[in-house]
């Protein structure tokens, strides 16, 4: 009995050590195939990366590893879906991280709830301190209920960004979608925005926020914890009619700095048309 108790305690301790000290730093690149005729035409041959939920406290080994992977991947597009800082944390390290992100065509992002925890400092993502002038600290283009259109050899790509928690922002996007035939990628922090699109909306939503739960828990427990986003959209690809969404596990952690069975990920998308052969 004593040996059983000691063995169990040892296993639990090892699991916690792994969860706190090892897995949060085991960043992996997840390749995700998206079947979409328009996006495959527009983004053919392009390297598209998606990062989210970095929750940066300082430029540590995880942040350096992410930057190293991004640099080695030589992306054409990098999309960011928010939460660059810890809740009520400092912003300098996150801004430094963003300043080191590079992509051939560009880097686009939206802000998450943690970024707005100090709403005054959240302005630093886009502006010089105490000024309405655009920041010169980094070249990320933050989309706050707005969109930009990019020309590629395959056609035009619309990149839209939703302002976190803003109904006005969703109304804007609805209006924009109703008058567009362009391939559209929507950046959103919360995956719950997926519900706000209709099945016939031809959009691909990139979202984060859930961290994949950080540990595997059954839906019922997430429901008890009042985490609706984890119950419904914990991680992975969701398709409903023509609308699609990928919810990334993100890179960092919040609350407990723990990950078990939910490695930090950088998502690399491969877009295929309906007739493309799958290797």
């Amino acid at each position: 009995m004593k040996f059983l108790f000691l063995g169990g305690s040892g296993a639990l301790l090892s699991l916690l050590l792994y969860g706190f000290c090892v897995e949060p730093y085991r960043v992996e690149v997840t390749e995700v195939v998206i079947r979409d005729a328009e996006l495959s035409r527009v983004l053919q041959g392009k390297v598209v990366l998606h990062l989210s939920d970095l929750h940066i406290r300082a430029m540590g080994r995880r942040e350096r590893k992410v930057l190293d992977i991004v640099e080695r991947t030589s992306p054409d597009f990098v999309f960011l879906t928010g939460d660059y800082v810890k809740w009520n944390g400092e912003y300098d390290a996150a801004l430094e991280f963003l300043s080191k992100l590079r992509a051939e065509t560009g880097v686009w992002g939206v802000l998450g709830d943690a970024d707005f925890a100090n709403s005054r400092k959240s302005c630093l993502f886009c502006h010089e301190p105490g000024s309405a002038k655009p920041t010169r600290k980094h070249s990320v283009r933050f989309l706050m209920a707005s969109f930009e259109t990019v020309e590629t050899p395959g056609g035009r790509l619309r990149i839209a960004g939703l302002d976190f928690g803003s109904e006005e922002s969703l109304a804007f996007l609805r209006e924009a979608l109703d008058h567009s035939q362009e391939a559209t990628i929507v950046l959103a922090h919360s995956p719950l925005v997926f519900d706000r699109f209709r099945k016939e909306d031809d959009v691909f939503v990139l979202a984060g926020d859930t961290h994949g739960g950080q540990i595997p828990l059954p839906s019922r427990l997430w429901a008890l914890l009042d985490c609706e986003k984890c119950v419904r959209y914990e991680r992975g690809l969701f398709v409903d009619g023509r609308k699609k969404m990928y919810v990334t596990r993100g890179v960092g952690t919040s609350n407990l700095p723990l990950r078990i069975g939910r490695r930090p990920e950088i998502v690399r998308y491969r877009f295929e048309g309906p007739g493309d052969a799958t290797p």
């Binding site: 100090n118 709403s119 005054r120 302005c123 886009c126 000024s131 309405a132 706050m144 006005e168």
Partner: protein, 173 residues
């Protein structure tokens, strides 16, 4: 004197017997952290347009849908106060139309279920007040729960040119 439903200039205020409560007086830079910062508005402290004390809020509004300020009052219970007031200075000869919105519901309520009132700020200094007994929602006609005021907004709607306004001395009287 400009008289709007729910609003009047200070000269016509009924003085409450209750002692006043200062909600925001912009006497220190830290008060800017109590505001909700969002795109389209830039806040800074200003010493040249203070109405009470030494400082005021300089609010630069940029063309956008709803530029302006909002804050969560530290004093949530307004039931013993007769009116909510603040001072404003419009440095432009052109009038500026602003809206005051007051929520008594925690989750951001839709237009019909909150207090909304627009008013025009003429050039120079004005004091804007609203009687607490006139705090009624716009669509449902419900009286606000004066013991649980959640958030106060002052903003411009559909601004098409850059404007500046100075605000000071948000208070209950």
């Amino acid at each position: 004197m400009l008289l709007l439903p729910g609003f009047f200039m200070a000269a016509g205020c009924r003085v409450s017997s209750e002692p006043g409560v200062v909600l925001l007086d912009f006497e220190s830079d830290g008060e800017l952290d109590r505001l909700h910062w969002k795109c389209g508005t830039l806040f800074s402290m200003d010493a040249g347009h203070a109405v009470c004390g030494e400082g005021a809020l300089k609010m630069e509004l940029y063309p956008s849908s709803y530029p302006g300020m909002s804050f969560v009052p530290q004093e949530r219970d307004w039931s013993s106060c007769g009116k909510f007031c603040f001072d404003a200075v419009n440095p432009s000869p052109k009038a500026l139309r602003l809206t005051v919105r007051i929520d008594d519901l925690r989750e951001s309520p839709d237009y019909p279920d909150r207090y909304n009132q627009s008013f025009s700020l003429d050039a120079g200094r004005s004091t804007v007040c609203v009687f607490t007994e006139e705090l009624v929602t716009s669509g449902t006609g419900r009286r606000l729960d004066l013991e649980g005021i959640q958030r106060v907004f002052v903003f411009a709607a559909g601004l098409e040119e850059r404007r500046t306004v100075y605000l000071d001395c948000f208070r209950l009287e």
